[in-house]
């Protein structure tokens, strides 16, 4: 009776149920030979399973578990019950006299393979998939305290290389699926998020290349913020990563960089579920560079002054008494807190399922003045309206608010913190910010702390998106699906530079810059599918049409001379200084596509797809592109002769596929000859903006893929191997004409070089994923996944062998070429001089080649750097520049482990990169010894003098252009690393305790992200990524915002 009461209490919310239960209880007494059975149904992890079905074998009697996994059923004596739940192996148990029978259901290995994979416009069972597709699911990346959904993929899928371009909260990552396929702005994949296409391109190439948070330029820093940071990764159920062209061709013109289909969580069968997930992280910088202390700096300044023949500074007369001074790195980095909360509700009832969530994330940056806040909302509803009609909708909203500190450039906060001098305090005694002394006529380093905290760079982004679908069953096997989706983005940026007087750095006039961008896109899809089967022959047809319409509008205003620094409004500035501009445009993509699938007896499958895309980015006659693909699989294990091996090998499948894809991700109008309007003292003037290229068309990619996958030993071991060759022809690029053809940049009045289909390149590689999943006892299990990925790329051809060098700004005004790409070589290799070493002897000096980098040869002196004279002409000039390293890794790898012991789980994830080089421009700036009034790294003290001939660094020279600091292999370092990316220790309360509390899950975890990195790299972090996602500027460390280390405490509650 006590038990009965518990049930009553427990069900007290459900008043209607009470009479029913009473009735059942009472009636049961009148039926003879009935016994009562009750218990808890749980999974092998000890979590209770609500909604499991308990039926009496051979009768219609059945019951189901409540949300605590409890059941009660009356059964005839000596009968048996069957306990089942989707995804688990059904168990049948004999019942003799009733009583308590607790049931532990095992996950069905077979059903695991029945997991559906979204292959584009439809889903397939995993076993039927013909292409190279990796899936990453929520449980793989749970507990990662990361803001952006693209970061979650790092190290978790073979063939996908994710590099964080910056450690700034909300910054963009570079996601490369099987290498680089284009040299133009973006190599980011296409994301299809609940049916809505989202480009991963943070530089908005397709919508005119405008970045609200800044301008793309040589020294503007990493200003691109991730377009994916508006999505809450906690809402994501699965990523299906379409890698080879036989899989991606269905997305045609946008698929050249691969496609990632993101499916968010949806309501599951069973009673309603409430979940709360939360974590708190403490983040820190992992290491600081060793810069000079004040006394070291004074020694160095005295030495340099002597070298340059300048008088020493009086205050540095006795360096040893000066102490440490200001370490600017200590000042700009701080311990930062991140918190994240998410509430979600989901369930399914009467043919309608729902998922509703709200999330909040607040991440402070580890560099002062950077922060990120996000609010997200998500609703998914699916309903079966009639037996021939089901509908659903996905609605999402995200708002982010970011404070950005500009980094990754020579004048960013990070670079400045290295070069700012230790003789300047952060603040004066009166609390105001200090600055460089009046006589620092050379290096006026603006106080980086003041600059980070007092300048405003605030970006607010809002995204609202929705997709609605309806599926009509027209006839048996024939379905029609209609999708209508849309998305709108609103971004607002406010940049404010206050008036200040920080030492000799004075700004008398403040300035406010506001930029905004709004865009919307609409997407309509009509898809017909038809399938029929004649026993061994199974056919599947799909035909569809899609239209994508995108519009954008942006403007900017700036004004100077606001009367105070407090309130930032365009209204408050001097209206004579108001400058405004705008841009707008639209693009359209119209497509038809179809696939045909044929499966013979689950042994052979064949799939063919075709897509036709019309794009507004190209001129008449060049608009339509056609993208076919074909793929086949052979499921060896389903052959009769393999029956005997089934015991060991459950499933062997060979895959072969070929497909073509395209890239049209450039702004519109490049095929036209445009006129540009530019402001001048005489009013607007008009110039020819570009050289038109009416022949401009798609970049096309061809890819061949061979795959093998198998599972062994009852699916304990799984393996997946793919080799591929991917060839891109006619990649889109702005023709790299010499300046004497184009003159200036077009915004300055130059004649812009044409956009062309410049050349072809190839990526080939191998990827592997190995999984191991074993339960060693009832209490202990280990799940492990190893991913390995190697890619080699090579430029195959280039129109007229144009010179593809790429420059970066080394200080405010000096551009230097740092990479070069030539036919027959990998893309974006570092380019500079090879060094022999420092010239230390007269003999060496006599034989050293002579630098000819200006208009004459200037002999080296002792203590200068000797470069390798590649062409043996006795001179060092631009003909001696050569390749000095590649930023591309030889391979990447990831190693994920989850150990479970009773209720404790331990996750360890390692991730690494091998064989890539990094150009450390931060070290170059920190060791160049070219200027007074500029701090350096402590090691820079070891420079050559006649007394210090064994020095590590060459003799100092006062001119910025001196060849001693030319771009050379002196600055190229090994960027290989192995990172302990994540360690998580979790504890889930056992179900018997949980059920008392009315919970279905309560788990706590402690995690460390970026625990330790094994590397030889001397900068902050070898994971450098690319500069504003530019593939030709990869692996260049110019003061990148370092990735933090974080300690996380989190919990998950479900009931």
């Amino acid at each position: 009776m006590k038990k009965l009461m518990t049930n009553f209490i427990h069900w007290n919310a459900n008043h209607r149920a009470i009479p029913l239960i009473l009735f059942l209880l009472l009636t049961s007494n009148f039926i003879t030979a009935q016994v009562k059975v009750s218990g808890i149904v749980s999974d092998d992890k000890g979590l209770s399973i609500p909604g499991a079905n308990i039926s009496v074998v051979g009768s219609k009697m059945s019951s189901s578990t409540d949300f605590d996994g409890k059941y009660t059923i009356d059964v005839p004596a000596n009968s048996s019950i069957s306990v089942s739940f989707i995804g688990y192996v059904t168990q049948t148990l004999n019942v003799k006299n009733g009583g308590t029978i607790n049931v532990v259901l095992k996950l069905s290995a077979e059903d695991l393979r029945e997991v559906l994979v979204n292959v584009g416009y439809r889903s397939q069972k995993r076993k039927d998939v013909t292409g190279a597709i990796s899936s990453v699911t929520a449980k793989d990346f749970a507990d990662s305290p990361q803001i952006s959904m693209d970061q979650m993929l790092q190290g978790r899928a073979a063939g996908v290389q994710v590099t964080n371009n910056s450690g700034q909260p909300g910054a963009s990552a570079s996601v490369r699926i099987r290498g680089i396929s284009s040299l133009s702005g973006t190599n980011e994949p296409l994301y299809i998020i609940d049916g809505i296409p989202v480009s991963g391109d943070a530089t908005n190439q397709a919508t005119g290349g405008n970045i609200v948070s800044g301008y793309l330029g040589a020294n503007t820093g990493n200003v691109s913020t991730s377009p994916l940071s508006l999505i809450n990764p906690n809402d994501i159920e699965t990523y299906d990563i379409l890698k080879d062209a036989s899989a991606t061709a269905i997305y045609g013109s946008r698929a050249a960089n691969g496609v990632i289909i993101v499916t968010t969580k949806r309501g599951k069968k069973g009673t309603g579920k409430f979940a709360y997930d939360s974590f708190l992280s403490i983040q820190n910088v992992t290491s600081l560079l060793d810069t000079m202390s004040l006394s070291q700096y004074a020694v160095q300044q005295n030495a340099l002054a002597e070298y340059y023949g300048v008088g020493p500074r009086d205050e540095f007369a006795v360096p040893s008494v000066l102490g440490a001074g200001t370490n600017w790195q200590d000042e700009i980095y701080k311990t930062a807190i991140m918190e994240n909360h998410q509430l979600s509700f989901s369930g399914s009832k009467d043919g309608t399922s729902y998922y509703i969530s709200g999330g909040y994330a607040d991440q402070q940056g580890i560099v002062v003045g950077s922060a990120f806040k996000r609010y997200t909302f998500k609703t998914n509803v699916d309903s079966k309206v009639k037996n021939w009609l089901s509908v659903g909708v996905s609605i999402g909203a995200g708002i982010t608010n970011e404070d950005i500190t500009i980094n990754g450039s020579s004048n960013g906060i990070i670079s400045t913190s290295i070069l700012s001098t230790p003789d300047v305090a952060v603040r004066n005694l009166d609390g105001s910010y200090a600055g460089p002394p009046e006589d620092a006529s050379l290096g006026v380093w603006i106080n980086p702390v003041a600059s980070a905290l007092m300048n405003t760079n605030n970006l607010i982004k809002k995204n609202f998106s929705g997709n609605f679908y309806s599926i009509f069953k027209l006839a048996k096997g024939l379905e029609y699906r209609f999708d209508f989706g849309g998305s709108t983005d609103i971004s607002n940026f406010e940049g404010f530079q206050p008036t200040y007087a920080w030492g000799s750095a004075v700004r008398d006039i403040n300035q406010l810059q506001e930029r905004s961008n709004t865009s919307y896109n609409l997407n309509i899809k009509n898809v017909l599918t038809y399938k029929f089967s004649t026993g061994v022959h199974n056919f599947n047809f799909l035909a569809g049409q899609e239209a994508y319409d995108s519009h954008w509008f942006g403007n900017s205003q700036s004004v100077s001379g606001l009367l105070s620094n407090d309130v930032h409004s365009i209204n408050l500035g001097d209206q004579d200084t108001l400058v405004a501009s705008e841009y707008k445009g639209s693009s359209g993509l119209y497509s038809f596509f179809g696939t045909f699938n044929y499966d013979f007896n689950s042994r052979y499958t064949l799939q063919a797809t075709m897509r036709a895309d019309g794009s507004s980015n190209f001129g008449p006659g060049k608009r339509w592109g056609y993208f076919p693909s074909i793929a086949g699989t052979w499921n060896l294990s389903n052959e009769k002769f393999m029956k005997s091996t089934k015991e060991y090998i459950d499933n062997i499948k060979f895959r072969i596929g070929y497909g073509e894809t395209g890239n049209q991700n450039i702004g519109g109008g490049a095929y036209l000859s445009n006129i540009r309007s530019i402001k001048s003292a005489m009013g607007n003037f008009f110039t020819a903006d570009n050289i038109a290229n009416p022949d401009l068309t798609w970049e096309t990619g061809e890819q061949t893929n061979l795959g093998l996958e198998f599972t062994m030993f009852n699916s304990k071991l799984s393996a997946n191997f793919d080799v591929y060759r991917k060839q891109t022809a006619g990649f889109l690029f702005t023709l790299p004409l010499p300046y004497y053809v184009t003159g200036l940049e077009s915004y300055q009045g130059g004649l812009g070089a044409p956009r062309v289909n410049l050349g072809s390149l190839r990526n080939q590689g191998f990827e592997m994923a190995l999984g191991y999943d074993n339960k060693f006892s009832n209490n202990f299990s280990w799940t492990s996944k190893v991913t390995f990925f190697m890619n080699r790329n090579e430029l195959l051809s280039l129109q007229d062998n144009f010179d593809l060098t790429k420059d970066v700004m080394l200080n405010d005004y000096t551009n230097k070429a740092v990479t070069k790409t030539v036919v027959g070589q990998p893309i974006g290799q570092f380019y500079g001089y090879e060094t022999v070493g420092i010239i230390r002897t007269n003999e060496q000096l006599a034989n050293a080649p002579i630098p000819f980098t200006g208009n004459k040869a200037v002999k080296s002196q002792l203590g200068d750097v000797e470069y390798v004279d590649q062409n043996k002409d006795g001179l060092i000039d631009e003909k001696d520049l050569t390749f000095i390293g590649s930023p591309q890794p030889k391979f990447n790898y990831g190693f994920n482990n989850t150990f479970k012991y009773k209720n404790i789980d331990l996750g360890v994830m390692l991730q690494g990169s091998y064989g890539n080089k990094v150009m450390n421009l931060t070290r170059r700036a920190g060791t160049k010894n070219q200027r007074l009034y500029e701090n350096q790294l402590a090691e820079a003290v070891d420079f050559w003098t006649p007394e210090n001939t064994d020095a590590k660094y060459p003799r100092p020279d006062g001119a910025d252009g001196h060849p001693n600091i030319a771009i050379s292999d002196r600055y190229v370092e090994d960027g290989s690393y192995l990172r302990i990316q994540q360690v998580t220790l979790g504890y889930g309360l056992p179900s018997d305790i949980l059920s008392k509390a009315g919970l279905s899950k309560l788990r706590f975890y402690l995690g460390v992200q970026n625990l330790y990195t094994f590397t030889k790299y001397t900068g902050y972090d070898p994971e450098v990524g690319s500069y504003n996602q530019d593939e030709l500027l990869s692996g260049i460390d110019s003061g990148r915002y370092p990735t933090n280390r974080s300690f996380t405490f989190g919990m998950n509650i479900e009931f």
């Binding site: 100077s560 005489m682 003037f685 004497y740 003159g743 005004y813």
Partner: protein
């Protein structure tokens, strides 16, 4: 056979939704620019056509003018010294990857590209409503600006590629450079075309916008200068005399007025670059107030006077020269109309500013207008202001005339030549040449240096001397700060031609090969 049952309702929905949305029209894929013009429709009114050359009156030269213009001429020639942005020029150590080389290169070739576009296409693309006179004048302006570009290019870089069709070049850009003499001939042809087709107009004696535009007289003045550079003395003399006789230009009576913002585009200006601090964009304003002007003469920027007068140029000024105070300032100078340190009326006071002029005891005054006043107009965020800078003014033409008459001799007693020279001296408040005193080559050379000090001219004057003579002059200059003591740097012959920018050398190694003759059309 199983019969399939068609669901009628679903079919109706399919037909309406599916087929309704599936119809595509070409219009969906035709997306003309929404925020700019396309060339086919653009050249449809006189004003639209006229505005195609406005950039060549200023803004397109900005990358050249900002820093590089003064660095290349004033630092190299020893008129100025600098701690930053160019000590390598003072010491003849400039490397080919310096922005100081690429920015002028880009500006000049940008003007060439846009000029070529107008020369090659304007006639055919202009609409019916555009008057032929406007088309003619615009094309003539394009020839004029192309000539100016090549004149700078050939003086800075020596042999350069002559480009007449950028569209063809884009298809095959790997060209050789052309011989210096061919570049000069090309410049001459362009200027002759411009002189024949530009509006002939007498400058208004009131300074103002209508004097901005170049005329037949402007082209002829440059033609005289280009003849002189080629030592075609009689052509130079004849052309200079023609301009003088036309009376279109004249000296401003008061030298100081030349550098007042309110006197922008006065009748001494033959061709000036136009700037405005009100544009509010980088490189929209004249940055001289920062490059030359002391911190206290600036608003909103915290570094000034990067380029300061060398002791050598200071010594070149004679006592009593009214140009001295307008060219550079020393302690004790007073500028009652200039605002400094927040106060109108600038006195260069040693007590108030004890270390203001520590480096060489002077700061450049020319083109420095001081903090914002009613006279100066607005300043932009980079310290850019409204004052124009001269590319050629009438004083230059007068001295060209004198030199052309001299025709390479060491002196002349020609009265007209002496009068041209004396006009410049007279305005400077200096002694004129007496009746029987000849005008010497060295006096003329010195006069040019002083008259155009800090205007971006002296280096080119050194460059047309015999190399040995120029090396002799330069090697004797004091190129040191007061704290360093006297410093001498001796250039070699090749230092008078700057290396071509490395970025283009890399793209086209043929630029380093010997120049080839140009095949004139």
């Amino acid at each position: 056979m199983k019969k399939y049952i068609i669901n009628i309702k679903a079919l109706v929905l399919f037909l309406t939704l599916g087929l309704g949305f599936a119809s595509c029209s070409d219009e969906f894929l035709d997306r003309p620019s929404e925020d700019g013009y396309v060339s086919d429709q653009f050249y449809s009114s006189d004003e639209q056509v006229q505005r195609t050359t406005y950039g060549m009156y200023g803004k397109m030269w900005a990358p050249f003018y900002t820093k590089c213009f003064y660095a290349l001429s004033e630092l190299s020639s020893g008129n100025c010294l600098a701690y930053a942005d160019g000590p390598e020029l003072i010491q003849f150590k400039l490397t080919s990857d310096s922005f100081i080389l690429s920015d002028p290169w880009r500006s000049c070739f940008g003007v060439v590209a846009q000029s070529n576009n107008l020369i090659n296409t304007l006639e055919s693309s202009a609409g019916a409503n555009v008057s032929p006179a406007v088309i003619k004048n615009t094309i003539a302006e394009a020839h004029f600006f192309r000539a100016i570009s090549y004149f700078y290019l050939v003086r800075l870089f020596g042999p350069v590629p002559i480009i007449e069709d950028n569209l063809a070049l884009a298809k095959n850009p790997m060209v050789n450079t052309n011989r210096i003499e061919d570049v000069y001939k090309f410049i001459e042809n362009d200027l002759k075309y411009a002189a024949a087709n530009l509006k002939s107009k007498v400058r208004s004696r009131t300074a103002g916008d209508e004097n901005i535009f170049v005329t037949q007289g402007s082209a002829e003045s440059f033609l005289a200068k280009v003849y002189l550079y080629q030592k075609k003395y009689s052509d130079a003399k004849q052309m200079a005399e023609k301009v003088i006789a036309s009376g279109e230009f004249d000296l401003l009576p008061n030298f100081a007025d030349l550098f007042l913002t309110s006197k922008n585009n006065n009748h001494e200006s033959i061709y000036s670059w136009q700037w405005s601090g009100g544009i509010g964009e980088y490189q929209g304003g004249n940055f001289s107030n920062v490059q030359y002007g002391l911190d206290i003469l600036n608003d909103g920027v915290s570094y000034g006077a990067t380029y300061i007068p060398s002791n050598d140029i200071q010594d070149a000024f004679e006592v009593g020269d009214v140009r001295r105070k307008e060219s550079y300032l020393v302690y004790g100078d007073e500028y009652p109309n200039i605002k400094a340190d927040g106060v109108v009326g600038f006195k260069v006071d040693k007590v108030k500013y004890p270390s203001l002029l520590d480096n060489t005891g002077a700061a450049v005054k020319k083109y420095v207008v001081g903090q914002v006043t009613g006279e100066t107009g607005p300043v932009d965020n980079w310290g850019g202001m409204n004052n124009c800078n001269y590319i050629m003014r009438y004083a230059d033409l007068l001295l060209i005339h004198a030199e052309a008459v001299m025709a390479g001799a060491n002196e002349t007693t020609d009265a007209a030549a002496k009068e041209s020279y004396n006009k410049v001296r007279r305005r400077a408040g200096l002694e004129e040449l007496g009746l029987n005193v000849p005008l010497t080559k060295s006096a003329l050379f010195k006069e040019r240096r002083v008259e155009f000090a800090f205007e971006g001219e002296f280096w080119y004057d050194l460059g047309r001397l015999p190399r040995a003579e120029a090396i002799e002059i330069v090697s004797k200059q004091d190129r040191g700060f007061d704290s360093d003591g006297v410093k001498h740097y001796t250039p070699v012959e090749t230092d008078f031609i700057f290396p071509k920018p490395e970025i283009d050398l890399r793209k086209n190694p043929k630029l380093k090969e010997a120049p080839v003759p140009y095949v004139f059309k």
